[in-house]
């Protein structure tokens, strides 16, 4: 299927349109909120919460006996919140560290959820089949009302973010200062955490318990590499998230036997890798290029300084010297000499070099920062 055909299909086919829209919106909202999770060093909270939501789904089903998405997600939300606050309780009140608390809640809640799920499977209720889709998610089960729910939550989330932008931002970067300014840090904290839980719960149906944490983290971690401004990061993360959703859906739709969740996660991972490598200011590639460039500059300066040392001993600074004396000097290569000539610091004549006035004064001021032209 070629690209145009696919794009046409996205707009005409009900299922494909719903799934594409759903995953795009989901990616956007998780990317937005994920930025906060990443910056608050709560990256793994998403993993813990998504696992902790499982017993809530099971209990909601046990109580209502129906497989209505909204009630199940409500149950997931409640048990996710309980898990989150228990984690905070453990970290605050005992000497167990955050990683232990996260791992504990994650595995214990998930285990309890499994217990309930197997318990439900033994019940004589024909309705129970398909509850385990929440484990790995099934984007194909999205219907239009789910997308509406996601859109509503995303809208609410954007409004709250805009309303409390200042508070969220200041709490993120300087919690103590926020407190001294008189903000109720606890309320702000609970608000942002609740929204993170909400976003995770929304994604359970689509990408499932196990992979939800990556949806939260990957777009934010990718966006972080491109900017140092929170607003830009949140915006970029939303875009990365949305594109992961759209591309992931496209890839999994074009092949047989590919579940959407893992593909979306892998697409998001590709975004992360690209950002890690190619981001101009933080990326590995440009870091390496800068590193090599700095080393070259240093070598150049070392050669220049060495030449300056020799030139100093003569009354006439442009007194010619053989290139040979540079040979056993480490910073010297033919390339650096040529560069020096290009810069007009040195003139070459056969096997001899002599320093120019410009070169002499630059070399004299190399280490006292009088010259600013060497990048």
């Amino acid at each position: 299927m070629d690209l145009l055909e696919y794009i046409e299909l996205v707009f005409t086919d009900y299922t494909l349109r719903t799934i594409t829209l759903g995953t795009a919106i989901l990616g956007a909202v998780t990317g937005m909120l994920g930025s906060f999770a990443v910056l608050r060093k709560q990256s793994l909270l998403g993993d813990a919460i998504s696992h902790a939501a499982l017993p809530g789904i099971a209990i909601a089903f046990l109580i209502t006996g129906a497989k209505d998405t909204n009630t199940l997600l409500l149950g997931a939300l409640v048990s996710g919140l309980i898990g989150t606050f228990w984690i905070r309780g453990i970290i605050k009140k005992t000497h167990l560290k955050s990683d232990t608390a996260l791992g504990l809640i994650l595995s214990l809640f998930f285990g309890f959820g499994m217990l309930l799920l197997t318990f439900i499977q033994k019940q004589p209720n024909a309705n129970q089949a398909g509850l385990d889709k929440y484990l790995f998610g099934q984007a194909a089960t999205l219907v239009e009302s789910d997308v509406w729910l996601m859109t509503m939550v995303t809208g609410l989330c954007v409004i709250v973010l805009l309303l409390f932008w200042k508070e969220f931002k200041i709490l993120l970067f300087d919690a103590d200062y926020t407190k001294t300014l008189g903000f109720n840090t606890k309320t702000i904290d609970i608000l942002i955490t609740s929204f993170i839980v909400l976003a995770i719960v929304l994604g359970l149906q689509t990408v499932g318990v196990v992979l939800m944490s990556a949806m939260l983290l990957a777009p934010a971690a990718a966006a972080r590499q491109w900017t140092n401004s929170l607003a830009k990061m949140v915006f970029l993360a939303a875009i990365f998230g949305a594109f992961s959703g759209v591309f992931g859906t496209a890839v999994s739709a074009s092949q047989n036997n590919l579940s959407t969740g893992p593909v979306i996660v892998l697409v998001a991972a590709v975004f992360v890798i690209i950002s890690f490598v190619f981001s101009p200011s933080r990326g590995l590639l440009f870091k390496q290029i800068r590193f090599i460039k700095n080393r070259r500059d240093l070598e150049l300066n070392k050669t220049l300084a060495f030449m300056h040392q020799i030139a100093e001993t003569h009354e006439d600074i442009s007194h010619p010297h053989t290139i040979k004396i540079l040979n056993n000097f480490q910073g010297y290569t033919k390339g650096t000499l040529q560069k020096l000539v290009d810069k007009g610091f040195v003139t070459l004549e056969g096997n001899m070099w002599s320093m120019t006035k410009k070169g002499y004064s630059t070399a004299a001021n190399l280490y006292n920062q009088q010259t600013n032209d060497d990048e």
Binding site: V38, T94, H95, D99, L108, G111, F119, G261, P262
Partner: protein
Amino acid sequence: MNSAQIEIQLIASLVAIACAIPGTFLVLRKMAMISDAISHSILPGIVIGFFITHDLNSPLLIVLAALSGILTVVLVEYIQKTGLVKEDTAIGLVFPALFSVGVIMIAKNANDVHLDVDAVLLGELAFAPFDRLIINGMDVGPKSLWIIGVILLITLILLFAFFKELKVSTFDKGLATSLGFSPAIIHYGLMSVSSVTTVGAFDAVGAILVVALMIAPAAAAYLLTTDLKKMLMLSVCFGVFSAILGYWVAHWLDTSIAGSITTTLGLLFLMVYLFAPSKGIIAVMYREKQQRAEVSLITFLLHLQNHNEVEERHVNHLREHINWQKVRATKVLELAKKNNMIHIENDVVSLTEKGETFTSKAIDYIITNKDAQIEDMKDDFFLFRG
């Protein structure tokens, strides 16, 4: 109890012990989440191994899975070292990606593979006794029992051989390096043991239960003791206890054994979390309340010491001056009176001799910043605590 039941309990107990030992060190080294990451990211290793051997119990599977576990650790450390993201983000990025690769590999080959993601993540202990190990036509027991037994044996040998090194490098990395133990070797050794244990156990009990069995007993034990040997013993005991109790709960409710062992572990941790003698939540809250009252008391006594004027020391005035609620003010007054630190005459409060000494000493400690010594002093002076 038939032999299958005994075998299941035996396997569960061995898994619990094999998990509790590396788990204790992971919790102490603040690397508990690594076990979660490993438990997920062994999936591609298992899948590739399965494609090659078409046997879920082959040793190659364990080797490949352990390798992909170690690959996770290396990747996490590499990403962390670039400084682009924090450690927890690095963990959160690596394992879902590897897990996705595994899931997709399974999905693409679904037709000729009898491997289920659910089976890997959740396991089914009830089926473990049916897969027998047969040597020379003789039935020597379930395969998983042998696998986990060997892993446990190796873990125990390593534990006894390197206990000192593990202990030092866990609590003081600098000292360990200066004594000539390489923290890197111990670190990767521990990671390898964790990976191998996870792989060996996943087949029987599932990846999530492995995480629970590693972290929960160790965390509960950590709330009860600060002695490494006692902590190891306790977490082993907790693990085995919940494994056996969990089995019977599952038997009674007719549910997944892994799920019910985890739930038992959860309840056990909840109990310890609530009722641990000095670090449990109730003890901590009680102590916090006590300290709040006693800090109020010291503030109150200092106020008395600073003011000789009668009107400043009038009972009613105190309430508005220090700005306390009525209940709190009454409580502090009573506490001070019970400890013979004040006496009240015509509604005017003044310090007794004992109160004077206590207050002077307390202010001394506060000024010199030796807050810890106030606790000892309280023992000397207080007849009743706050």
